[in-house]
């Protein structure tokens, strides 16, 4: 992409092709001999990381789409079936879901790098604007992708975000109807979002080609912000940049794999494991973490239309950056004031993200307004003003001169700050649920926690017995088939035992030749029958509160960990909020109601249930279920066993996930090490 190439393939067949379509020459000039500034630091590897992530998302997404059903009644179940039954479906789903977060994390680093080193300045304005377009497309794609699992947060996120457009005067309502394809968010909405979610990534790929083209015309910026002048200032793209990017990608993969294999639900919301219900609103509707700063801006402006305009202009303003910042010096390395304001701006963005996850009340609203003003002031006041008043330090004459004068302390401190900031930001979502105010469930020691956790087979078998004899009279387990009981990583029954277990159940089948439904003994392929035919029947039989299906309950329930715990959780791989909560609720019943709590007729006091009034009567009492293996028949033991069992029903492939995770980590660490030493060797003469 940088002018005609003099590349001549040696193979006659390739020469024949090259005369008719000079694609090899294009590749050669763009990615092999292309001169890249020799002073680039590791922040420049994020371009390669982003290309890699885009490819990864498209690849996993195409395979997921082969198994996904875009229908309001079937979407949630089809996602669960992908995770449970498709070969390595859990891996594909985790890669795609965590991949979205990683993609956004990388794009934020990439954008901030551009901001710090002035990569948007003449002659790279178009390159920068193309980047902003890619970012907008990414946001639309990410939002629509989050709707597809059709959980509670998907549905209500879609409702809140599509309602933003109703703020537009005159056309607002019609635009919203067009987005919905109906009178509210429903099946037509899901269908069109699926279609667009499949389309937009290819548009992104197209704009990425333009972005790279523009990059190769203007040439890369570099940390010193001076254009390469002589051949001494540059190195050829291959092998220098390719190997350096390869090492960057390998390091990034370590972080990505940490999420995929050990913390797949850390960035998600427990409510999204509850199927979408248009009649029930979740108490906190929180977007994915990467939208939080803009959500905070939306909410801090009291007028609805102004809020929507504010939110969109927060992104659009980036397009005007090349003209807002008129300073001649590109890199903030040589701009003492701009450098400080840049870091203040980063902190403002992170704090806005934190506020986006908080309930909009009291001090949070005021803080949100102040920070919104700061955000816009950076672009509209600080940058134009600095261009006039700041006295930049002298820039070096050439890149080679800058390398000779190099001091490398800044990078380390920047990295530390960014990691700390990132951890704070990523976890702010978890904090959203901290304000519920109910007592926090006590932590437990689970056999399945940690990087090498495994299910306790005995506990799974006892938990199944407790479920069958106690819970099953009201709660369904509809995603679990009897065959699952004999699968690896489960309770460890043989196929024959699972079949015998299944045959104890009566399953409705039909119609037969006479057109009648009939009952027959269960088979291994059948699913656990639910105690009620539908939700209304369950609701009517239980005083207005339908007992939830338990298949996913340990992933669909959570409680706020609060600051700073959610940061530690990332490193300690703590993700047992759900099991801790379920076990605490089972043991939290108390006949003695504390003062100040009123329990309505037909409800029971439970210490750990939000609001303390639960419709379920105390389900477990000592000695209720007999154990054959001599385990104590106490409520505490029952709670522990049945929670372990329900953790398995929520995540039957957890053991495979953690086992594969360990293998992947060993490989990645070795691979990254090899890449590092290869990189050192390649660059040995260039520093």
């Amino acid at each position: 992409m940088s002018g005609p190439s003099d590349y001549q393939p040696s193979n006659p067949a390739l020469q024949w092709l090259e005369r008719r379509l000079p694609i090899l020459g294009l590749m050669h000039s763009s990615f092999v001999v292309y001169p890249t500034p020799r002073n680039l630091n590791y922040w420049w590897t994020f371009g390669a990381i982003l290309s890699f992530m885009l490819g990864m998302q498209i690849l996993t997404g195409v395979i997921l789409a082969m198994h996904y059903t875009p229908h309001a009644d079937l979407a949630f179940k089809s996602v669960e079936l992908i995770v449970r039954d498709v070969n390595y479906g859990w891996l594909l789903r985790n890669m795609h879901a965590c991949g979205a977060s990683m993609f956004f994390f990388a794009v934020y680093v990439h954008m901030l790098r551009g901001l710090y080193y002035g990569s948007y300045k003449e002659p790279r304005e178009v390159l920068w604007i193309l980047g902003v377009i890619i970012y907008l497309l990414m946001m639309a794609t990410g939002f629509m992708g989050y709707v597809l699992p059709w959980g509670q947060m998907s549905f209500w996120g879609a409702t809140v975000i599509t309602n933003l457009f109703s703020a537009i005067p005159y056309f607002g309502e019609s635009i919203v109807t067009l987005l919905w394809g109906g009178y509210s968010v429903g099946n037509p909405t899901l269908n069109r979002f699926f279609s667009l979610h499949y389309l937009l990534p290819f548009l992104i790929a197209g704009v990425v080609v333009l972005h790279v083209w523009a990059l190769h015309v203007a040439g890369q910026n570099n940390p010193d912000g001076v254009e390469p002048k002589t051949e001494k200032d540059t190195v050829p793209f291959t092998p220098h940049a390719t190997i350096k990017d390869g090492f960057g990608v390998a390091c990034f993969l370590l972080l990505y794999a940490w999420f995929i294999f050990y913390m797949p639900n850390y960035l998600g919301d427990a409510d999204n494991y509850i199927p979408a219900n248009p009649g029930v609103t979740p108490p906190h509707i929180v977007p994915e973490w990467y939208y939080l700063p803009f959500y905070a801006i939306l909410r801090s402006i009291p007028n609805k239309l102004a809020g929507v305009i504010g939110m969109f202009s927060a992104i659009i303003i980036l397009c005007f950056l090349p003209w807002l910042d008129a300073a001649k010096t590109r890199s903030s390395k040589y701009r003492p004031l701009a450098k400080q304001f840049f870091w203040i701006f980063v902190v403002v963005c992170i704090l806005l993200g934190y506020l986006g996850a908080q309930p909009p009340e009291g001090i949070y609203v005021i803080a949100g307004r102040v920070l919104t003003v700061c955000y816009f002031a950076y672009f509209l006041i600080v940058l134009p003003l600095l261009a006039r008043i700041e006295r930049p330090r002298p820039v070096p004459n050439s890149i080679s001169e800058a390398i000779l004068a190099k001091g490398g302390k800044a990078v380390a401190s920047v990295a530390v700050m960014l990691v700390a900031a990132g951890a704070l930001f990523l976890g702010s979502m978890q904090d959203a649920r901290a304000s519920e105010g109910s007592d926090k469930p006590p932590g437990n020691k689970w056999s399945f926690s940690g990087p090498f956790g495994k299910y306790d087979r005995g506990a799974l078998q006892r938990g199944l017995k407790v479920y069958k004899e106690v819970c099953a009279s009201c709660h369904g387990l509809s995603y679990i088939a009897f065959r699952n009981l004999a699968e690896a990583g489960g309770p460890g029954y043989s196929v024959a035992q699972a079949a015998a277990f299944a045959s104890e159940y009566k399953v409705k089948d039909g119609p037969n030749d006479a057109g009648d439904m009939f009952e027959r003994p269960g088979r291994p392929a059948d699913y656990f029958p639910s105690p009620f035919p539908n939700e209304q029947a369950a609701r009517a039989a239980n005083g207005g509160a339908a007992p939830p299906d338990l298949s996913l309950i340990t992933k669909a329930r959570s409680y706020g960990r609060g600051f700073p715990w959610f940061i530690f959780d990332f490193f300690t791989q703590y993700q047992e909020q759900g099991p801790d909560y379920v076990s605490a609720v089972l043991q939290g019943f108390d006949d003695h109601v504390p003062e100040g709590v009123t329990i309505p007729e037909g409800s029971y006091y439970n210490k750990y249930f939000p609001g303390h009034a639960i419709k379920m009567p105390k389900p477990l009492s000592d000695g209720q279920v007999t154990y054959d293996d001599g385990s104590p028949t106490t409520v505490a033991q029952y709670a522990k066993d049945v929670t372990t069992f329900l953790m398995w029903t929520a995540e039957p492939h957890m053991e495979a996930r953690k086992r594969l995770g360990f293998q992947v980590f060993v490989f990645l660490i070795l691979f990254a090490g090899l890449m590092y030493f290869t990189k050192k060797k390649v660059w040995a003469d260039s520093h």
């Binding site: 209500w156 409702t159 809140v160 309602n163 933003l164 109807t177 067009l178 919905w180 394809g181 109906g182 009178y183 509210s184 968010v185 429903g186 037509p188 069109r192 248009p278 009649g279 029930v280 609103t281 108490p283 906190h284 509707i285 909410r299 009291p302 007028n303 609805k304 309930p359 909009p360 009340e361």
Partner: protein, 138 residues
């Protein structure tokens, strides 16, 4: 990309029988995928809704304009918060009306916004009384 024919057909008017709804109770029916609250208001709720100084409201509207005359005890509103579309909970909040759990908007017993970020009152859907105990929504 506008709604297709079957979606439009499914959005045809519906009739709701009000006779089982006792005073002080309310029911939620779905019309066009939207929850519609039908409240059988008590005398106290009606009086509260009418005692307010209309000019002091964020979205001034009299209670008389929001119900059908002769059927003052019946309040019919679309149960979608005018802020960002959540579903408010009936019989909660400080105004004997609705409370939205998402961002804390509170509506009174006439479905008018009284407190919180929502910009407008809960909308009244098009409806009329077919008989004394039956309404047609749509």
């Amino acid at each position: 990309m506008n709604p297709d024919a079957s979606t439009i057909a499914a959005g045809a008017p519906i009739e709701v029988d009000l006779s089982p709804v006792a005073e002080g109770q309310d029911i939620k029916v779905f019309w066009r995928g939207k929850p519609i609250y039908i409240s059988h208001r008590t005398k106290k709720q009606i009086d509260e809704a009418r005692a307010v100084n209309v000019a002091s409201l964020p979205d001034p509207e009299t209670d008389e304009a929001r119900v059908k005359s002769g059927h003052e005890q019946w309040l019919v509103v679309i149960g979608i918060c005018t802020h960002l579309g959540c579903i408010p909970i009936a019989h909660e909040g400080n105004y004997d009306g609705f409370f939205c759990p998402c961002h804390g908007s509170q509506y009174d017993s006439s479905g008018r916004i009284r407190q919180g970020p929502a910009p407008a009152n809960l909308p009244v859907p098009p409806y009329q009384f077919v008989s004394d105990t039956k309404i047609q929504i749509g």
